[in-house]
Chain length 420, copies 2
Amino acid sequence: MGGFFTGRTLADLGKALRSGEVTAQGLVAKVLESVDPDLNAFVTLDAEGAEAAAKRTDQALASGIDRGPLHGIPVAVKDIIDVAGLPTGMGSAHFDGHVAEDDAVCVTMLRNAGAVIVGKTGTQEFAFGATGDVSASGPVRNPHDRARMAGGSSSGSAVAVAAGMVPLALGTDTGGSVRIPSAFCGIAGFKPAHGSIPADGVFPLSPSLDHVGVLAASADDCWIAYRALTGPADETVPHGRVAWIEPPAADPDVVRTVRALFPDAPAEPLDFAGLREVFIAIEFSEAYDVHAERIADAPGLYQPVTLGRLEESGRMPGWRLVRALRERDRYAREIAGLLDRYDYLAMPTMPITAPELGATEVEFGPLTALLVSLTSPWNVLGLPALSVLAGTVRGLPVGAQLVTRRGAENVLFDAAARLA
Amino acid sequence: MGGFFTGRTLADLGKALRSGEVTAQGLVAKVLESVDPDLNAFVTLDAEGAEAAAKRTDQALASGIDRGPLHGIPVAVKDIIDVAGLPTGMGSAHFDGHVAEDDAVCVTMLRNAGAVIVGKTGTQEFAFGATGDVSASGPVRNPHDRARMAGGSSSGSAVAVAAGMVPLALGTDTGGSVRIPSAFCGIAGFKPAHGSIPADGVFPLSPSLDHVGVLAASADDCWIAYRALTGPADETVPHGRVAWIEPPAADPDVVRTVRALFPDAPAEPLDFAGLREVFIAIEFSEAYDVHAERIADAPGLYQPVTLGRLEESGRMPGWRLVRALRERDRYAREIAGLLDRYDYLAMPTMPITAPELGATEVEFGPLTALLVSLTSPWNVLGLPALSVLAGTVRGLPVGAQLVTRRGAENVLFDAAARLA
């Protein structure tokens, strides 16, 4: 596991950069040394661009310009997010050789905060899937067991952080794609409220569910990165009252591990099945809209699994989308009521630990549904959701997911700090 | 044609009521005498309820309570609009024997304005169709030629007015259902801006396209009724600049007749085909949502034509609805730009005159698409649209349709007054 950044927090790195113990250029070199090609986390390493950017941030710091906690920090970016001048492949043969012209807004935000983009990380093809092993760039491997899935779709971002190749990465999350690989790889992943980090310049999967998020070794580092990108918190909300949400179908060892962190939280029901209907109707309809012409023109360029899911998406009837949009409003009111009574909700991020590469079914159900079962409701509702390491089951990481209302993000990180 | 109300305006009737020349009870009697069962305009006549209500309005007027221009005026209400205590059949065997418990909001508004509800008028089954001849209550006949369609779906409301049975009727309009039968029957019909008259208590066809509207012999009387229901105009906009919108497929005699009223109006293009795609995607998706359980439980209770259209609606893919909603926003911006340059738009209401009952195809194309081709764009955009008599072609009425922006409704009525 041990890349250079394992065990080094953003605060540690910031101190070392400011004391002159390390330079941003030196950190870029550490990234390049730490990359383990067998894990397949990176699809593009931009040594030259990163070195040049690092040199500029070193010069800035030397001349007294300090852009804050991300100044000089190497960051990896998921390969569906545009970085000007770098290949942006979307994990798909459709974008083989495609080079982005401009930075996505979230990348501009990173650069403005002084971060150094070191490369692009592997993604599930078009971010449409949560296994992390369906991509034109091949499967990303879980550093805890290389025969297992990293989870997706921000697979490479999670693995690059989990294996200590970088201290921070950007990902995207439409049904759990930041939180799922974070949980499977034993790191922290934060999906902010919908729109908090703009998705302009990110290849869409389902625009009304797409979120840009951050992945780091700890919740603390996610919070630092999130705040560096979006500015100070709107409000600081006192925490305390937590409700436990019991998963409908899950590995009991996983549930037990997470539940142990919240022994006194009263259990509250959640209509996971209904929320899944809403999620699927929106995601499928919007995803096919994005891909309709590409499917007609060059179906053979998709990975067969992706094409199959897209074809299924195209058959989602409009009337189910009409119902989903109405139901979403109803659920939003219901959950707003729940979050009046509690400061945050806690549950496992994933109902299972990372399955073996290539699996489609596990003991607890078919994988496609299971993987997003506990994460996708918070995309439907656009609520801030954080995954943090809760423990291990049979040597594999297990994540706890904490959810709150928009504006109360600090509650999640305060709670995570108390768990750590 | 000659029912009692033929040639009598709301102003005439109001004067006669206030001079004591007639009473509201006397007007109810005139309605009952004027009904021509062969036209099949009414499905329910509420002689008893109307007489009681008329008596109350007569007493009110005698005691000095005057509710304005609709005080004592008999009004017919389309049979998908709830009137408390009256059968409300939706033109469907599904609602055979169903009696509404409460008044729809628009009916309450009518009553508050002093109007007397005299009965319920025939509607296309569930308002889903514009021919006026598909209904559990049988075809409504065109008073200008009883072998021809009245148009729909507010067929009975239009015929009741056109044949002088009532001076005013309420209808609903999802793709043209107020304006289509108004044009075919030679009267005026006004579909206000979306939501201007609330649709609560009206059986939904496609909620985001559904509008409640008014039908009367003249545009003047539509304006009086509309204002009596909704209050004074927000603004009074000077009129003048009119653009001509050329229909894509139409009877040239119909086009010539309407164009002659606006000889100097510059022609502006409109993407009728694109707007139709938007209309169909929204209407079909929302209509199937309304009917899904009913179709599963008792498909045999639908008229076969209605069931066929609903089944087709259920196959509308969600991704086309996603595109339609995005396109609607684009068209709304485009038409807002056009209505910055012009005060109103003019075009035929219908591209053809009333076809024979049972027709499915005419010289200018398949009827289903043709009937809503010029009216449905204004449901998609939610804009106020008025149909007024423009002339006749081979003895059949032809309507001119005038469209403007929300808030500039008076422009349409000022223009219509100058045409009359």
